[in-house]
């Protein structure tokens, strides 16, 4: 699917996201149009980080939270409401993850339910590799990387979702990719045992 297609979604209402967002504070019912347009993408966002079952439960929470946040929002320059919705979805996810695992465990990973991610990576080695690549990143750097890789946002859009400047986003994205690549390459040739060990370490934590 082309990026622009998924960002625009499909809906009968021809008004742009920017127009809808501008009217939202006075016409909350327009959130229904945004839902029809973007719920599928927001669901994928949630499912990638918390699994499909939790994503179904959390989906409406995101749009309901967006309803009360709608008085102070405008669309990203690209015209899409998605970066804004992803930003809200991240907050909803963080709350969800805190409820799953109380923060005292130390190794919490707000905004990401690793068990749910693991569920869809069949090979044990692959799970270990993903974790190795991402676990060393700061939460916000990882989120930045994934918004670009998984949600197909531009670095500038991802910056809007995370409320950081586009310039900062670009340099942090570069840093995150370099770091993740290095972690992956470090595993190369080290054989499945190392990966399994890494994975076991995560399970222990």
């Amino acid at each position: 699917m082309g990026l622009s297609a998924h960002k625009q979604g499909m809906t009968g209402d021809q008004r742009s996201d920017s127009e809808l967002l501008a009217r939202l504070p006075r016409q909350p019912e327009l959130m229904g149009v945004l839902y029809e347009r973007h719920a599928r993408a927001v669901f994928r966002y949630l499912a990638r980080r918390a699994g499909p079952a939790a994503a179904e439960d959390l989906l409406s929470e995101v749009f309901i939270a967006a309803l009360s946040a709608s008085s102070r929002v405008s669309a990203h320059d690209s015209g899409s409401a998605l970066p804004w919705l992803y930003g809200i979805a991240l907050n909803v996810l963080r709350k969800h993850c805190r409820q799953l695992r109380p923060p005292h465990e130390g190794a919490t990973d707000p905004g990401m339910d690793w068990d749910a991610v693991d569920d869809r990576l069949d090979a044990r080695a692959e799970r270990g590799r993903l974790w190795a690549a991402l676990s060393d990143l700061a939460d916000s750097d990882r989120e930045l990387l994934l918004l670009v890789a998984w949600e197909g946002l531009t670095p500038a859009e991802a910056a809007a979702a995370l409320d950081i400047s586009p310039t900062a986003a670009r340099s942090r994205l570069h840093r995150a990719r370099t770091r993740a690549m290095r972690a992956l390459q470090g595993l190369r040739g080290s054989g499945p045992d190392v990966v399994t060990t890494l994975y076991a370490r995560r399970e222990a934590s």
């Binding site: 909350p28 229904g32 669901f43 309803l67 990576l121 993903l130």
Partner: protein, 399 residues
């Protein structure tokens, strides 16, 4: 594609949302939108608002309540039930020949019209000073007051001058308080349907059809709009129907919360608070209420909307009524162990769960020209996706 992108690409593959998931999410969102648009909309229709029957003279209040900030004194109406007199019900059926006390012609001012009262700070109190006035006198006074109100029709229902009957209630249930907005309309087949707050449901809404236990009920029997039209406005002809609908299995012991008397009281309150009734019919209902044995006077009710009333009690019901207007101001239902409240049909997300008690403060009720757009779209959406819950049940067999 490099190592990292390959890995992320395979890890990012997730199933698409199911249609059921989309639909469920939309329903939840629509409920929140409906609540939001109600809260944002002040009393724009104040000038056009038509008050009906017992509701005349009340003020439309901009509903800006938030659940968290609500200050309704939960449970304040839960009163100890005093032992009621053991009068056999038959004794009360005899027509009453006593002269009714004349109610004051001018209803006392209620909330100042246009005053910016917010429901979030709605509170009420009860002064339990004992009164020597019998409950029957109180109810007869209320009946007289409501009967004096303007109204041309002698049918139970008003001629609906506007398509929607909009009610605003502040509901306290199990410690939580919310503002419920309800909209009902007559359908072409005379069944009637609507949408209302989910029994103190924290913003959730449910469809109302004639099959819903609390809808226009007589006892446990739901009634359609057409059936309400057929009810007699002569209190003596109405009484056997009120009595008969409760079935023969109900106890005639008025101390029993399941007693026939208590259930008749409930039927009357159900009709008065959920329907735009004509003054003539409201009067008949209150006159019959005055004949119900075992009702006691418990004190004086005052709320922050500036309204006062007399508190009556029977079985699990405690009700505040304004004797100068006939308005029912508030009602508390105490739970009976093992018997769920809200007619037993409690949505899962409702805070009104079995074992608690619920208090409803009736804020306003009026016929209006339209429902908020979000509510209309929610009804349309729900009808398209959940047709079953909108199906009217077969008519109540006996009338």
């Amino acid at each position: 594609m490099n190592l990292l992108d390959d890995l992320l690409s395979s890890a990012g593959r997730v199933p698409e949302i199911t249609e059921e998931g989309m639909r469920r999410g939309r329903l939840n969102l629509d409920a929140a939108i409906a609540q939001a648009s109600t809260e944002r909309r002040p009393s724009q229709r104040k000038a056009a608002a038509r008050w009906w029957g017992g509701w005349r003279g009340m003020t439309v209040i901009g509903a800006t309540a938030t659940v968290a900030a609500a200050a309704v004194v939960a449970g304040a109406m839960v009163l100890p039930s005093s032992p009621p007199p053991k009068t056999p019900p038959q004794a009360a059926i005899a027509p009453r020949a006593t002269a009714k006390p004349k109610a004051t012609a001018n209803p006392k001012p209620t909330a100042d019209p246009g005053a910016a009262v917010t429901l979030s700070t709605l509170s009420y109190s009860i002064d339990t000073t004992t009164s020597s006035t019998p409950a029957a006198t109180v109810l007869d006074a209320a009946a007289t007051a409501i009967g004096e109100q303007a109204g041309t029709t002698s049918e139970p229902n008003v001629d609906w001058s506007e398509p929607y009957f909009h009610t605003v209630q502040v509901v306290t249930c199990n410690g939580g308080t919310t503002t419920d907005n309800g909209w009902q309309t007559r359908t072409d087949d005379g069944v009637g349907e609507g949408i209302g707050g989910a029994c103190g449901g924290g913003g959730g809404m449910y469809p109302i059809t004639a099959g819903f236990a609390d809808f226009y009920g007589l006892g446990n029997q739901p009634l359609t709009e057409s059936q309400v039209d057929q009810l007699p406005t002569d209190p003596n002809k109405l009484w056997p129907l009120l009595e008969g609908f409760d079935g023969d299995s109900l106890s005639s012991d008025t101390a029993n919360p399941h007693s026939k008397a208590s259930t008749m009281f409930q039927s009357i309150w159900n009709l008065i608070t959920s329907e735009p009734l004509s003054p003539a019919f409201s009067k008949a209902l209150l006159e019959d209420a005055a004949k119900i044995p075992g009702v006691t006077v418990e004190g004086k009710y005052t709320d922050s909307l500036g309204r006062t009333g007399t508190v009556l009690h029977i079985g699990i019901w405690t009700m505040a009524i304004d004797t100068t207007t006939g308005q029912v101001l508030a009602m508390t239902q105490n739970a009976i162990p093992g018997v769920p409240i809200c007619g037993g049909k409690v949505p899962a997300h409702s805070m009104c769960q079995p074992g608690g008690s619920s208090t409803v403060v009736y804020v306003s009720a009026q016929l209006v020209a339209s429902v908020p757009k979000a509510v209309a779209s929610m009804i349309a959406f729900s009808k398209a996706h959940e047709p079953k819950v909108w199906q009217a049940p077969p008519p109540t067999p006996k009338l």
